[in-house]
Amino acid sequence: MSISYLPGKEPHPKETRRIYKNIFREGWDTSINCYLADGGYSELRKALSMEPKAVTDEVKKSGLRGRGGAGFPTGVKWTFIPPNNTKPVYLICNCDESEPGTYKDRYIVHQDPHQLIEGMIISCFAVGAHLGYIYMREEFPIAAEIMEKALQEARANNFLGKNILGSGFDLDIHVHRGAGAYICGEETSLINSLEGVRPYPRIKPPFFPAAIGLYGCPTIVNNVESLCQVKHVIQMGGEEFSKVGAQRSPGTRIIGVSGDVKRPGLYEIASGSITFGELLFDLCGGPKEGHEFKAVIPGGSSSKVMRTDVKYSVKNPDGTNGSISFFDIPLDLDSIAQHGSMAGSGAVIVMDDTRSMPWALNNLNHFYAHESCGQCTPCREGCPWMLKLTTRMLEGKASPKDVDLLLQVANQIEGKTVCAFGEAAAWPTQAMVLKFKDEFLALTDSFNDKLPHSTEAKEQRRYFTR
């Protein structure tokens, strides 16, 4: 059966559509009948005929790495549940997609809910969870409705409920909606949000979710795309899955491109199968007319920005040192990490020569200052400080010293916080200031060093000079 897509939504030849097979597919809808007609839920039947441990083993064998941003091996994560555990196990699908630049999960939950549900049921079966939640961000109200309806359909077809398909396995899944907090994408914060307390991330140790998670019980939190991939792991077999794409981060990855390209959008590629050059020029159609690429944030706003005009050093196969341009870097986890950033959630934000880096950083600093939960000191105090510094730079009221201070504040946050938000907030600043320092310095004036900045100081100064 050949698949056709809606006009203008056809996949690029370099894409490998697997998770996104049904996105913008001609004649596709979110109903279970549509999904079943396409062979849906057959992987569930296959998985239910296996031992749970065998399912986990397949996922481990596949080398599947989490698609939420951190890239932790999914199968390995599942095995962190204590072997002698007697408490209930929970599985939570993290659909709090809110890393700026990331919008891949949106289309799965809006257009292909049953793929996620099937992946989730298989995963719950593997880890022994009898209750699962889909933590849906508040800004996806329609998706929540779609998902609720899909869950109802799945229950009606006995894919959920008691004794699923006669396997003896019981499971129910509910949708739990967030309320607009980025931090809830952090798994322990998400768990707190689900528990109904303020969603502060928990300290690790001791609160590793696989051991002490939701309600103090072992809990697995996986990203939407990761759970969908599980279905494909079962379909293909772990061995076969591991052969797709880059060896150390196999499978397909959905790359979401936004910003200054001709054709921003979502592209599902075999991991590492294309380079940034291919992505930006072939798939996305290159820079906007009359402009050039300047910088790329390769994996969500938290990943470190990369300049497109510098050489990146590599080790040649013969052991000598060589260099490649930005556009030659392949799109896989390790390659991007090797060049000083990360593939994160696959969200590529492209900036061309019209963009001011201090402006972009200020925008992101506003995001992090607004989203900091405020639990721990460095992030709570540091993020607004960085925002105030970049705002002052944009206003032309900063001195060159403030640029150094900005970097130091970021350094003072990184690695000192309860959760990874500290790094997420510090990295953009660190990378932007280091890589585009001239742009920041251009906004400053050493005279500004002598001026007061705080409103309190300004008031005082007015008083003394009156």
Binding site: S98, G101, Y103, E139, H174, G178, G180, A181, Y215
Partner: protein
């Protein structure tokens, strides 16, 4: 803060008048609401009704426009926690509102990708077209409401549709690649509704 006469504690639940209130009924506990909540609590394991705080608040907000002190106290009583606890939850999430929005609430994404596609200007365009005073919007009162109560606007962080900016969520519906012309269409469409 508009509650200069109140101390910081009383201001946490103080009523912020909004013209949008005419479009929502005042908070009251109806049998339907109670039934909805009772069903919600079954989504969570026994004794974990605290988990239902967010879902309950969502229902309350959807039906009554915003979360007032009475609904905070009622939610606390339904979930077995202190009112202070619910207050802590309510004030944490930007998605939970203590001020009534307009009948149609525009949430415009302000984060990088949308900002690069013109969200900053679009925000001002929407304010102008809906007669909302952008100066009335600040951290403590993130929602600006038009005098007629039909429209309100709020700048929010990433709506996760970054390739198609600027994005605007109007009540539950997302509009992408929003231009000033498209704003006119949206307004016209909702005016008729």
């Amino acid at each position: 803060m508009s509650h200069d006469h109140l101390n910081a504690i009383d201001a946490t639940i103080a009523h912020i008048p909004s013209p949008g209130e005419q479009f929502f009924p005042p908070f009251s506990v109806t049998p339907e609401l109670e039934a909805q909540v009772a069903e919600l609590i079954t989504h969570y394991p026994e004794g974990r009704q605290k988990s239902a705080i967010l879902p309950i608040l969502h229902i309350v907000q959807k039906q009554f426009g915003f979360i007032n002190p009475a609904s905070i106290e009622w939610t606390a009583s339904q979930t077995g926690v202190s009112a202070a606890h619910v207050l802590g939850v309510v004030t944490f999430y930007p998605g939970l509102r203590q001020k009534c929005p307009g009948k149609f609430h525009f949430r415009i994404c302000r984060t990088l990708s949308c900002a690069m596609s013109g969200a900053e200007d679009l925000f001002e365009v929407i304010c102008r077209k809906t007669n909302i005073d952008p100066a009335s919007i600040n951290h403590h009162e993130p929602i600006g409401v038009s005098p007629c109560g039909m429209w309100s606007i709020e700048q929010v962080e990433c709506l996760a549709n970054c390739g198609n900016g600027p994005n605007v969520l109007v009540n539950d519906l997302l509009f992408d690649k929003v231009t000033p012309e498209k704003v006119d269409e949206i307004i016209a469409k909702y005016k008729q509704a």
